[in-house]
């Protein structure tokens, strides 16, 4: 299937646009790079361009900017509390970048950079390492008590502590695979059903209707996955700050 130029996975292929070899490593500008820039530019257009007038009664773009700000600020406040204020810019940027990446991927012929495990895992790894470092800075060696479930008898520790450690270490994997797999599956499904439309002739109206409905669902998933990534990051920060 990978060799098929029109297969449903072909849309995920990274195409080199500008060849930039640096010390034997290819740091090429690719279609992925372009759509990262598009997503970032979209976020800046809304958050900076939309708030240019600083209107007392906001227009459409400013409303979106304020809504996004208050939404993420509320999320950070609810999950982490007031100490979470420091991490708000990072969580906000993560959410907006993933959201706009997901949404830009819905544009026909575009590329969804969040459908690549390299990207999602890099983000999840930064969150994981950052949160772990934060936990050690905040609590020192006491951070290890996080792996000991409170109120459990000592005899259960040999069983539960490994489970807790595995669960902790699997966080970056679940965080990255969740986003990557959702984007991959949704876009693949769209492509598969879109392929049925010309193949079925007049009856192709049915898969067309399905693809239309699925597109709506995919837009919801684009929001949902950005939200899940952001709120899990908040929860991890909360764990690091407050342990149990």
């Amino acid at each position: 299937m990978a060799g098929d130029a029109h297969g449903p996975l072909e849309q995920f292929r990274i195409k080199e646009l500008v060849d930039i070899p640096v010390a034997g490593v290819q740091l090429d500008i690719t279609n992925s790079t372009v759509w990262m820039v598009v997503a970032a530019a979209g976020v800046i257009a809304v958050m900076v361009g939309g708030t240019r007038k600083r209107a007392l009664v906001p227009g459409r773009l400013q409303s979106i900017a304020e809504l996004a700000y208050e939404f993420i600020a509320g999320m950070v406040r609810d999950t982490v509390g007031d100490e979470g204020r420091k991490y708000f810019p990072l969580i906000f940027t993560l959410f907006m970048f993933i959201l706009f990446g997901n949404l830009a991927g819905m544009i026909p012929y575009s590329f969804t950079f969040t459908s690549h495990i390299a990207v999602t895992f890099a983000m999840a790894a930064v969150v994981f390492v950052g949160v772990t470092v934060l936990g050690f800075i905040k609590h020192g060696m006491h951070f290890f008590s996080f792996f000991v479930p409170p109120g459990v008898s000592v005899f259960m520790w040999p069983l539960l502590i490994p489970i807790e450690i595995i669960s902790y270490l699997s966080r970056p994997i679940s965080l990255s695979v969740r986003l990557f797999a959702n984007m991959l599956a949704g876009h693949t499904l769209l492509k598969v059903f879109a392929g049925f439309v010309p193949a079925l002739g007049v009856a192709g109206i049915l898969p067309l209707a399905f693809v239309s409905a699925l597109t709506g669902l995919e837009i919801v998933i684009a929001f949902l996955q950005a939200y899940v990534f952001a709120i899990l990051t908040c929860l991890y920060i909360n764990d690091a700050l407050h342990l149990h």
Binding site: T33, M36, V48, V119
Partner: protein, 161 residues
Amino acid sequence: MPQLEQISTYASQIFWLVVVFAVLLGVMLRVALPRVQGILEARQKRIDDDLARAAALRDEAEGVLRAYEQAQADARAEARRLLREQQEAAAAEAAARHAALGERIAGDAEAAEARIAEARRQALAGIEAAAGEVAQAMTARLIGVEVDADEAANAARQAGA
């Protein structure tokens, strides 16, 4: 699956992710988030100010209302006082006039009684005189004796008494 096949692109993807994300984070941190926060705070301040001003205006209006009600109560009390004074004055004057009228009526009644007594006396005197003349005339006609007018009058008076 290109995600797992194009391992040679991982470096490029992660490099550009870091670059683009860092730039975006910088713009959010420096420009966008402080600006949105400023907008929201300015709006909240404006709302708070408006609420404070509305509360001040309400207090002022309540003060005016209280002053008005006080003035109205004062005016009512003053009106009641004036009314009472006028009523008392009117009552006193009415009593005085009533007394004066009573005196005048009593005076008039006495005078009238005196006049009636005088008239009665004159009338009685007239009747005595007439009775004397009648007695004089009757004696002359009946027994042909001419009696003196005074005698006749006395006789008539004695007969009348």
